[in-house]
């Protein structure tokens, strides 16, 4: 029987299925961090049970860590306690931890792929919704709650219902200065922040194929913003080239064997999808969000919808969003002043993102009243940026290169955007208060964010390249 990519992986991981209920899904890799794991550790300790497969778990500290002076003790007491709790729990339960100070430390969704922990065909979970990122390698990867973290600790399994199947095909050549981030913001604007709820989404088509692994990760990362259970892309030569030689990737004969299997991971020609969406890459411009969910995005040269363009039922939420953002319906977004620029997060903090930004800003300087934070996704990204002299370019441009962590994406550490200020951000969520109470977030690509850093306002980056 013909199968989708998702179904091929899913079927291989089903331990059993409960009559009239969910299936028992076996989990290959479990990534954990300091914020969503402590209660799960406490839970298994209370039950008096051991972690079932500690070798299949990898931990890092990312959500809560400072991005300056990481060699010093964490100042904020609760953050420090959470990070220390992770260290203690990992030591007690024999779990590999890449904590602060470790050369592999970083955002959990950046380090998994760059270390080769993330591999095609796997099931991967983490107590973080952006686990969908790892689907870029052709794996089933999704975010879970803390009770589920506890279940995976106890049994390496989860009870899951099979999601419906959606395929989003993007074909054709991208316009100048249009990046993977613009593709996914465009899809979100088309199908809305709940458009893929209940689905596993496969991204396909020539445009997706032409993306680097970094670009594919950016697309899959934001699958959750459409409500999707997960997003995935069939592995191909781009994937295999990226994987080869990575620290935990299979080596020698194991590599050959793995490769043979990975090459079977694609949706069969006659596989059926519950829903299919086709997008012409040429229709996509540099995108920016104007509202308070990631589906509220437009091309940078378009106008914000006017009240009358919004369905009556949706109007109260739209008006609430506009009021929060301090933006007028029907107005242009281009020219909107920005106060902060944040380039980072599990969506866009990889070396390719930093290279693109550095290449664009070389010889330029940030606008006077704008604060620019570049937060690399991992210690390895930070080191690579320094090796390539990217740190110098940022310094000359007046951009601050900080240390790795989730940072201003969710403002759990001290990297918060002040109330009322506008931040153009390469992260994934523009929810009210996401980057700090009262902060106003405009989501965009790293190039669009860099352009705004230079001009001090929302800019069509394609005009500057």
């Amino acid at each position: 029987m013909s199968k989708t990519l998702f179904e091929k992986i899913w079927d291989k991981h089903i331990v059993k299925t409960i009559d009239g209920g969910p299936s028992v899904l076996y989990i290959d890799k479990h990534l954990i961090h300091e914020v969503t794991s402590p209660q799960a550790f406490a839970g298994i300790e209370k039950r008096g049970i051991q972690i079932f497969r500690p070798k299949q778990i990898v931990a890092t500290a990312d959500h809560n860590v400072p991005t300056l002076n990481q060699h010093l003790p964490i100042k904020e007491q609760l953050s420090r306690l959470q990070v220390e709790t992770l260290i203690k729990n990992c030591a007690n339960h024999n779990i590999e931890l890449y904590g602060l100070g470790h050369p592999y430390q970083g955002i959990v969704h950046v380090i998994g792929p760059e270390l080769g922990i993330t591999q095609p065909g796997m099931t991967i979970v983490c107590g973080d919704s952006h686990t969908s990122t790892h689907g870029a390698f052709g794996s089933i990867a999704f975010g879970i709650g803390t009770s589920e973290v506890e279940m995976v600790f106890a049994t390496q399994c989860l009870l899951q219902s099979k999601p419906k199947q959606m395929r989003i095909n993007v074909n054709g050549s991208l316009k100048k200065a249009v990046l993977a981030k613009d593709i996914v913001l465009y899809i979100l604007a088309k199908i809305s922040a709940s458009g893929a709820t209940g689905y596993a989404v496969e991204y396909a088509g020539s445009t997706i194929r032409s993306l680097s692994m970094e670009g594919r990760m950016t697309v899959c990362n934001m699958s959750i913003e459409m409500g999707a259970r997960c997003g995935l892309i069939a592995p191909d030569e781009t994937t295999f080239n990226y994987m080869q030689g990575k620290k935990f990737a299979p080596q020698g004969n194991d590599w050959d064997k793995a490769l043979q299997y990975w090459k079977t991971l694609y949706s069969d020609d006659d596989a059926t999808f519950d829903k299919e969406i086709n997008i012409d890459a040429a229709d996509i411009s540099p995108m920016i969000t104007y509202g308070t969910n990631p589906g509220m995005g437009i091309g940078v040269n378009e106008l914000i919808p006017s009240d009358s363009a919004i369905n009556e039922g949706d109007r109260p939420s739209f008006e609430k969003a506009m009021k929060y953002m301090g933006i007028a319906p029907g107005a242009a977004i281009k020219g909107q002043k920005v106060d902060y620029v944040f380039i980072g997060s599990c969506t866009n903090s990889r070396i390719e993102d930093l290279r693109l930004v550095a290449n664009f800003v070389k010889g330029k300087h940030k606008a006077k009243d704008v604060e620019v934070w570049i937060v690399p996704g991992s210690k390895q990204v930070e080191q690579q940026a320094k090796n390539e002299g990217i740190d110098k370019i940022f310094e000359e441009a007046g951009f601050q290169l900080r240390q790795p962590g989730c940072s201003a994406c969710l403002g759990m550490n001290e990297d918060k955007i002040p109330a009322g200020k506008y931040c153009i951000s390469t992260s994934n969520r523009n929810f009210e208060g996401r980057q700090g109470a009262g902060a106003r977030t405009l989501l965009a690509s790293p190039l669009s964010a860099a352009a705004a850093a230079i001009t001090g306002h929302v800019t069509d980056v394609s005009e500057l390249i």
């Binding site: 009239g20 959750i224 039922g313 969710l410 759990m412 009210e432």
Partner: protein
């Protein structure tokens, strides 16, 4: 964790006529620094509830601050619980005293988290949701998990809701997934050894 059993909920409700309520609103990230599951209720909808994060300044127009709205049922617009996977959102809702959330559409991860924490997500039609939002402040609602029905008490208007039979049994009996999984460990071990051959 042993969860509260759910069977029949009969109570007033708190209406939150807002769509796409994300988990950052339900419990802002700055409150995720705890290492226990308790005490999140006081920060539920923190930034919608108080002016400038000040507990002495409740926002008057926010439903949770309206003493006329009471009960164990939260009613919200479509796509409730989108965004972050933080289970703290379900803990906060439960800790505040809600036992059910009614919406026309729930985000996936939130729905699982709610079910794992003794909070029943009840999906109703858009038109039924509208009817609830139009009710008076003192109206009551009855939810029967065994019958899978939700009823507006004053008018008797009723709608059925979906839940898979496994989860339904779990909630009625207070079982959780982890008990089930631990009990089938030998199946899991067999699965592992069959895979490695």
């Amino acid at each position: 964790m042993s969860k509260n059993k759910i069977s029949i909920i009969h109570s007033g409700f708190v209406p939150l006529n807002i769509e796409n309520v994300d988990t950052d609103q339900i419990i802002p990230a700055r409150f995720l620094k705890a290492t226990t599951r308790e005490g999140f209720g006081k920060n539920l909808f923190r930034d919608w509830r108080y002016e400038n994060d000040d507990e002495t300044k409740p926002k008057k127009d926010f439903a949770l601050n309206n003493p006329k709205y009471r009960g164990e049922i939260l009613v919200a617009g479509k796509n409730f619980g989108c965004g972050s996977s933080r289970e703290h959102a379900a803990w906060a809702i439960h800790d505040y005293g809600f036992r059910a959330v009614v919406s026309s559409f729930f985000a996936d991860i939130f729905k699982n988290n709610a079910l794992n924490n003794g909070v029943l997500p009840v999906t109703v039609s858009e038109s039924f949701l509208k009817k609830i939002f139009a009710l008076n402040e003192d109206a009551t609602i009855s939810i029967s998990l065994p019958d899978q029905t939700i009823t507006i008490d004053a008018t008797g208007e009723k709608e059925n809701f979906e839940i898979n039979s496994y989860k339904k049994e779990c909630l009625i009996n207070g079982f959780d997934d982890i008990d089930y999984l631990i009990n089938i460990k030998s199946d899991i071990e067999k699965f592992e050894s069959a895979r490695s051959i």
